[in-house]
Symmetry: D2
Subunit: 245 residues, 4 copies
């Protein structure tokens, strides 16, 4: 079996503007995420891309060769070019897996694929988050106990303005009193989409072993399942049955 091509896309701004973020993620959040994936097995070929690169690092050729794309963005959703969003959407529908992380809930690509606003409530108070597994047998939950905790995270609360998930893998409990659908699966076209809530830039979330395990599982779950599919709208002039007998 050939290796899966995985690209971790990072907005790559907080790390340079905020020394605290830079201290947690000295090589950037995207590199920390990539490092965790690389450590998860030899079946992945993991590279990174950032907003600042030409075409945000997502040329047509590169996307065509990508099996699973991870997306972390926050400050600069509006700076992502629509043409690149079109391209990523087309590749997801064609079969590429997509993992949308944390503040990526408001990324153009996620809103585009969901058709909704993907809004939520939030609070920055360094509070405890506990993620509960709703489907213990789901591939994304393998190796995870009944629940796991993050000592300090940003809070995201319901209502989360998404279409009903096809599968609900995690729901979060927050110390301040809220709940959130933290791990959600959807199928769109040939592609699999997983939204995973944790990952605020101010905390070492992407160094956490459970978080790394979930992302490693999710990348394998989201890998392309079937054949490539060129979407089209053909005129089938020749019927299979005779018309007008």
């Amino acid at each position: 079996m050939s290796r899966l091509n995985v690209v971790v896309w990072g907005e790559n701004i907080h790390e340079h503007r905020n020394p605290k973020v830079g201290a947690i993620y000295p090589r950037g959040m995207h590199e920390a995420i990539a490092e965790g994936l690389r450590a998860s097995g030899d079946d992945l070929e993991v590279t990174t891309a950032t907003l600042q690169q030409p075409e945000h690092g997502l040329t047509s050729a590169r996307l065509a060769a990508t099996d699973v794309l991870l997306w972390w963005g926050h400050l600069a959703h509006g700076e992502v070019a629509d043409a690149i969003v079109d391209r990523v959407q087309a590749r997801v529908l064609e079969g590429m897996g997509l993992l949308v992380l944390h503040s990526g809930h408001h990324a153009k690509i996620f809103r585009r694929l969901m058709g909704t606003t993907c809004s939520l409530t939030w609070r920055e108070a360094a509070e405890r988050e506990r993620l509960w597994v709703c489907q213990p047998g789901h591939p994304i939950a393998q190796g995870i106990d009944r629940c796991f905790e993050l000592p300090a995270e940003e809070m995201y609360g319901e209502p989360f303005a998404i279409p009903a998930p096809d599968e609900q893998v995690f729901i979060s409990w927050f110390e301040g009193g809220e709940v959130f659908r933290s791990g959600c699966c959807w199928h769109r076209g040939n592609g699999r989409i997983f939204y995973f809530r944790p990952g605020h830039e101010m905390y070492p979330t992407y160094h956490d072993a459970n978080i790394r395990r979930v992302l490693a599982n999710a990348v394998r779950w989201a890998r392309p399942q079937g054949s490539r599919w060129v979407d089209s709208c053909p005129n089938v002039t020749e019927p299979r049955e005779r018309i007008g007998r």
Copy 2:
């Protein structure tokens, strides 16, 4: 518009065995639930039925005239006759609404309609529960704020072994650290099904104004939507198109 016929079914055991339950619900839990519904509008005709009645109070004639059935059971799921479960299932598929309450998650009728075990984790510690609205525009959430609290309830925790809900109306936060999908909607046949978590017998939950509002909303939501449907498996000997031309 004619009134909706609503039947509140109660197991009716705790109230007689445990004086504390009897003190909270002197006329039975089912009567407290019925009272709340009656107070919600003149469009409902609300009666009650209990396990101890002949045919558990659910004769074929009565079920045939019932628009929405509410079900509370706990200690005696096994004493509910299979023939009555068959009958209730058939009426749900025909279009009768069904509201399954609290410990009814393990009732034969709920497991029958879900096809799964409907298991969960639990704890009796009189802890605080906060129910969050996931779909603020859903008919069942009308008149409910972003969330509401119950000062003391039994805890139910994930994983809740159900098919993915068609709509997720509420998710609960518990003081002891768990979360739970507390308000779930499914369509089965012509019938609408709503599971609503709160309602432990040791607490005055069915006297709570928010709980009453949710139940009142859910009864209207679950009312039969279309025509009666006699399920059958007909042999259609006469094709609409000529075969073998």
Copy 3:
């Protein structure tokens, strides 16, 4: 109960370019659709809007007062202004019902709400279409027999590139040998969406009694269900539980 405000939006081009279409729909397709709805009951207040009007006839004020919008377009999807599509999408998420008709499968608003390409296969051969009811108890199928026929229609065939429908009301059989998911329901935000396949401009489909019945049913099904909802992403600085005890 106040009347439902229904707006039928028509692209309004074929009727003027093609005398055959003009002969079938002398006042425009949108007016024929509106006429059928008006005849269905006094509970509807039905008006029309067209592409050629300022803001395509869909000002913010008008949309804010619209309960259900019907959309027929074909030749000029690209001429619909993105700002108007944004506006319609926001109103659907807020609770307005949307019925997308026939070639509207490729309308910007439908693709936006689905997140997929909504492509399909097609053929113009004036062939027989038979629509089968998959859910006889669904409100949209009330008054419709097990199936109904259209003597001549354009063919649309699978694969239809949509997210899995929440409810499948109709599937079509075509004389030339294809099938198609002809009546599909989705929930997005607070809004209900119904796609209904028939309605090629060259045939008198919108004069057909069954088609009119389905549209009349679907308008009532799609009416706003709950409260208006202003989507937002609030910072909830004050937690409901004390953090960091």
Copy 4:
């Protein structure tokens, strides 16, 4: 990777009662199905079981070792012992895949898992069936063209009384004028379920190359995805957060 244990369960009655069926399937329908699967790759270990065997060939030990079970029944659904149905259901929820074939739509195990009657309309007229692919990228549709035909089959028509499928892989067109949701996927507990319509005993359907391809794909799709899961309803007496501060 170890091989998948696949068990093909056959009712095994028609083959002995009807010489025409016996001529098409001299070693039984189950053996023909098994033969097709064996030819599909070395990764499968395929055996068969029949109604007439002790415990219908489905002992607890054997089921515990089964990864995917295929089920063909028709005349004797009522003779399948409820205890065996309980056992199969428990294994599906634990993670075993289940493929329900043709007249198995009325098998106890399928109705049990669906919660509905699974009724449909039918006709025996040796008519042409054409199965269309609704999701070209789905693993079950790999290697299948846009559609494929069976020259003579029994007809099954809508309405098919099932819960909305999680994924719609095939829809059938029938020469006599009907349509049917022929390939449907559901998730229940940890298990994957696929219903596949064709397979009337009077036709050589299970010798057809496309049918064999679909079954071979579906077995791999339905293989257990995650860990074994012992369903339970534990009392979690020790909370993770202190109650009553």
